[in-house]
């Protein structure tokens, strides 16, 4: 019911948005978007232990498909929770677990009946899920709470939470079951304008404790991690953002490096390996699979629609022959990349059949699976999972959002910076205004309708400008969108729904602390009864349904690096998810907005608040 209503609202919003776009772009012949409810968006897969069945998670249709792997026929379509992400199979094959990222649950499926028998509660926004070798313990990576839930499967009780990286997302378990590895998609919140830092969190399954954190400097945005069957080689798909240098001249440098981290005994430590080429990039590498004999590594480039096949022996030999890091050497990949195999649109998960003879790739924007013969490294089949053949404007917009084909040399897509249509936790030096000037935070793009103008200086009146000329001119510097492409891209972005707020009590009633914070947010007099000037009231600038007046103000947060201290009032919906804060990410937490960066009460009256009251205000803000 809720989902149906959501779709109806989305369609209505899309129609309104389209009307707006049509008015602003008179040459666009746009029709009302189709409902894209039927699209599947397959993203992740897992084999049954006997290799007969292939389980496919479909994000858009909230389904788990069960395929007969050999023939590729769909046997079952099992409805799971909302926006499912990953899947794991118990060692005995009797249970399948699917993480539902918007429900904060894991669906437990009985493979005898192929039905959901129960749901297990997790942390906020569960992604990766693995089962230990005993079949008794479930590990779930929670993206919002940045931790890993350790859950007793029999009772469904969460035993503990283990601290993981910012935006914890993907898990794998070693073949011997002793270690679980966890990656994360956002960099650690650290010093402003410092080199991004990430980690691989290593969990000892015997102790159910984190025993190691492998540091990765310069890495932000890690996706799949895989470990060889002998446990000696680990591989991670990742990005290396070049966000500390100006982005204004993409053709003179590059914006993202797409690389792998290889680690473990075979690597002799941690080595970062570039995957791009001198004249072409392979963006947003996502899925990783290692052949059972370790001879090859398969990596999906979700923005470039290819699978890269790597010769492991040559890779390690090349790596060991270089004492100095070579991750920024774009000529290096020629030494170990065997080939690039074209697959469908937005390839994500990559899974090998148990015998290693077939690689299955989930093409998220095609509703298909690509099947690759790993002996010959050839595409041998494309399995149609039964999604609609017509491409709706919304679907088309998402396809444009996720592809890097528009960028110079295919360097990156919208999805590089807006990971899974969110943000990236980085600041960027975007404009051609000089080195180190106007450093800006990358903002969340959910529920954008009614929050224009865009950019931190409020300089863009609409998303059409933001995504059109601005993106083409300053970001991609290559191919312009057609009017239709731009219309559909903007339509997609404007219809990105707001994720459920995890801090608002489920009964709708604010807690006492949140109620006290709300009163502070809405107050018009200070604690001494004196009126607070309008411009210093939280609710004056952060007004309306999205908590933005859509106006620009100088709230005293400008720095010497800013050309102007006047900034657009950001919307506050789901503000709890987007640390660090302020236009330049100088505030590492909500607290620092006021304890450090508001010495003169220009960013709201806060100097009269006690620590308790500031905590209350923050508790309220987290519910917005």
């Amino acid at each position: 019911m809720r989902r149906g209503l959501g779709i109806a609202l989305a369609c209505a919003a899309a129609a309104v948005a389209l009307a707006f776009l049509s008015a602003s772009l008179p040459h666009v012949q746009a029709s009302a978007p189709d409902s894209d409810e039927q699209y599947l968006s397959p993203s992740e897969m897992a084999f049954s232990s006997d290799g007969r069945l292939l389980y496919v998670v479909c994000e858009r249709s909230d389904q788990l498909l069960v395929l007969r792997a050999k023939e590729g026929t769909v046997l079952h379509r099992i409805h799971v929770g909302h926006i499912p992400r990953t899947v794991a199979v118990s060692p005995d094959g009797r249970q399948v677990f699917v993480s539902n990222s918007w429900d904060d649950t894991v669906s437990v499926i009985d493979t005898a009946t192929m039905s959901v028998t129960r749901k297990i509660l997790t942390g906020a926004e569960p992604y990766g899920v693995v089962v230990d070798r005993t079949g008794k313990t479930l590990y779930v990576a929670n993206r919002i709470t940045s931790d890993v839930s350790v859950i007793d499967i029999a009772t469904g009780i969460e035993r503990k939470r283990l601290l993981a990286g910012h935006g914890a997302s993907y898990l794998t378990i070693s073949a011997d079951g002793t270690r679980v590895y966890c990656t994360h998609v956002y960099p650690r919140i650290g010093e402003q304008r410092s080199v991004p830092q990430s980690e691989v969190t290593v969990i000892d399954t015997a102790r159910e404790a984190v025993v190691e954190r492998i540091p990765l400097a310069g890495v932000a945005g890690m996706f799949h991690v895989a470990v060889s069957t002998d446990g000696r080689l680990g591989v991670i798909a990742q990005m290396r953002p070049k966000n500390l240098v100006p982005l204004a001249h993409v053709e003179h440098g590059w914006v993202f490096g797409h690389s792998l981290t290889v680690f473990g005994a075979d690597a002799g430590g941690t080595i970062e390996v570039p995957m791009d080429e001198l004249e072409h990039y392979y963006s947003l590498q996502y899925g990783v699979a290692i052949a059972p004999d370790k001879s090859r590594i398969f990596v999906t480039a979700s923005g470039s629609d290819v699978v890269t096949v790597i010769d492991t022996k040559r890779l390690l030999a090349f790596a060991h022959s270089h004492r100095k890091p070579f991750v920024n050497d774009l000529s290096a990949s020629a030494n170990y990349v065997l080939m690039r195999i074209a697959v469908g649109k937005n390839p994500r998960g990559a899974t090998l059949s148990p015998d290693g003879k077939r690689l299955y790739v989930a093409n998220r924007m095609d509703d298909t699976l690509s099947v690759i013969d790993t002996l010959n490294n050839k595409l041998v089949a494309t399995l149609d999972l039964g999604g609609p053949k017509d491409i709706s404007p919304l679907r088309h917009g998402e396809q444009i959002f996720t592809t890097s084909r528009f960028a110079f040399q295919g360097q990156f897509s919208c999805a590089n910076c807006h990971i899974d249509s969110t943000f990236d936790g980085l600041t960027w030096d975007l404009e051609p205004d000089g080195f180190g000037v106007d450093i800006v935070d990358n903002r969340l793009i959910e529920d954008l309708s009614g929050t224009e103008p865009f950019k931190w200086n409020g300089g863009n009146p609409s998303l059409t400008v933001e995504c059109g000329p601005r993106t083409e001119k300053y970001f991609y510097r290559s191919q312009s969108y057609s009017e239709k492409e731009l219309t559909h891209l903007v339509l997609y972005i404007l219809n990105l729904p707001l994720r459920p707020n995890r801090f608002r009590p489920s009964n709708g009633q604010l807690t006492e602390a949140q109620e006290r914070g709300k009163a502070i947010f809405n107050r018009k007099v200070n604690k001494f009864g004196k009126p607070i000037p309008e411009g210093n009231q939280c609710s004056y600038c952060h007004s309306g349904p999205k908590y933005t007046s859509q106006l620009q103000f100088d709230v005293g947060t400008g720095k010497w690096t800013d050309r102007s201290p006047i900034f657009d009032t950001p919307q506050l919906v789901n503000v709890a998810l987007t640390a660090p804060y302020l236009h330049d990410e100088s505030a590492r937490s909500l607290e620092e907005i006021w304890t450090v960066y508001n010495p003169h009460d220009r960013h709201g009256m806060s100097s009269d608040l006690t620590k308790d009251e500031l905590n209350d205000l923050i508790e309220y803000l987290r519910t917005l």
Binding site: D147, R161, L163, A209, R588, S589, E591, V596, K611, D612
Partner: protein, 361 residues
């Protein structure tokens, strides 16, 4: 306050006629734990001799010093400082989350979490922590409690929510909280000037225990309540509260109070920095005049002699009889600030080093 007291000259007179009689034949003496003491100072790897807290995590020992957090592992010391991300070099308190293995570190300038080598720091500026001076820390499932110089804080590590407890929402007359102890059903705070606060986890309600003698510095009603409201430490174990003050110590089983003072017990001093209960009847007391163990009847005291600094141990039995025990080693100093346990061994934080008491049979 603790730091200042550390520098006070110790002009104390041993109330015993020391080492008059060897106690080899005394059955009480043989029943009390005997240790061989190995002491660590800056001479053998400790970053500072002022050790404020000690914590044992299996075969690893953490020492909170005035100049960094030291980890003793595989026979050598590793030191963590603000350069590694620690909140401050002066480490006042330590707590282990036994479920996750994470260490929580209270310092003079914030709270740090060490998790498999990663250090995250919470301060009153970047988080909801009530105050940067963190005298005590304790872990209750997913909640981390801190006793700070401006009330207590509780962090929900799953949601990130901070709850503050002070004079506004608890019966806390003073907000200088000095220690915290977490049990399965209750959390206790030692409040410097406001006695002991009890938090019932099931109900979220607070109750305070204070000195029935009020502001008097003499004890008019012994065993009728907390010995004094200048409390420094609490320890809750087996549904029994042990409380330390600068004027003696208290034991409360939920119905009756029993207090200990130097004049009528085996405590070497009324000035107690920390108490650690082992169960409902046994406890260790870290005082300014030595380390004391109470087995429910008898007392044992371990220290360098106050006059000669020679190793000293003595037993006080139920009848008040003092029996010296001949020993060749003693803790590094008689100003003791903390203790933790490693099997039958003890590790002791003192004003002049960290001491490892190796149990002798």
């Amino acid at each position: 306050m603790k730091l200042r007291i550390l520098t006070v000259p110790l002009l104390l007179v041993l109330p015993l006629t020391a080492a008059e009689k060897p106690a080899t034949a005394n059955p009480v003496a043989t029943a009390m734990p005997l240790f061989r003491w190995e002491n660590f100072t800056t001479a053998n790897g400790l970053p500072d001799n002022h050790v404020f807290a000690v914590l044992v995590d299996r075969d690893r020992v953490w020492a909170g010093t005035e100049n960094g957090l030291a980890l003793y592992e595989h026979g050598s010391w590793k030191v963590f400082t603000p350069a590694d991300g620690l909140a401050h070099r002066v480490v006042l308190s330590l707590a282990l989350d036994k479920r996750t293995g994470d260490l929580w570190v209270g310092t003079m300038a914030g709270l740090s979490r060490i998790s498999a080598g990663r250090i995250d720091t919470y301060t009153q500026l970047n988080s909801g922590l009530s105050n940067d001076v963190v005298y005590g820390v304790g872990v209750q499932d997913e909640f981390v409690w801190t006793a700070t110089a401006a009330g207590a804080s509780r962090l929900n590590t799953r949601t990130g929510e901070w709850s503050l407890y002070n004079e506004r929402n608890t019966p806390m007359e003073e907000i200088w909280t000095y220690g915290v102890s977490v049990g399965p059903d209750k959390v206790y705070l030692a409040v410097w000037g406001s006695g002991v606060l009890e938090y019932t986890i099931a109900t979220g309600r607070w109750k305070n225990y204070t000195d029935p003698d009020g502001e008097n510095e003499i004890v008019l009603f012994k065993d009728q309540g907390l010995i004094h409201k200048i409390t420094t430490s609490v320890s809750y174990v087996d549904k029994t509260l042990w409380a330390a003050t600068y004027f003696g110590d208290s034991h409360y089983d939920g119905r009756t109070w029993h207090n200990f003072m130097a004049k009528d017990s085996g405590l070497p001093s009324d000035f107690t920095n920390q108490v650690r209960g082992l169960d409902a009847s046994r406890a260790w007391f870290c005082t300014d005049k030595g380390l004391a163990y109470y087995d429910g009847v008898n007392w044992a005291v371990y220290r360098p002699a106050l006059d000669t600094s020679k190793p000293e141990m003595y037993i006080r039995d139920a009848d008040g009889k003092i029996t010296p025990v001949s020993v060749e080693t003693a803790p590094a100093h008689n100003y003791v600030l903390g203790i933790d346990f490693q099997g039958d061994d003890v590790w002791v934080a003192t004003a002049k080093g960290l001491s490892h008491g190796i149990r002798q049979r």
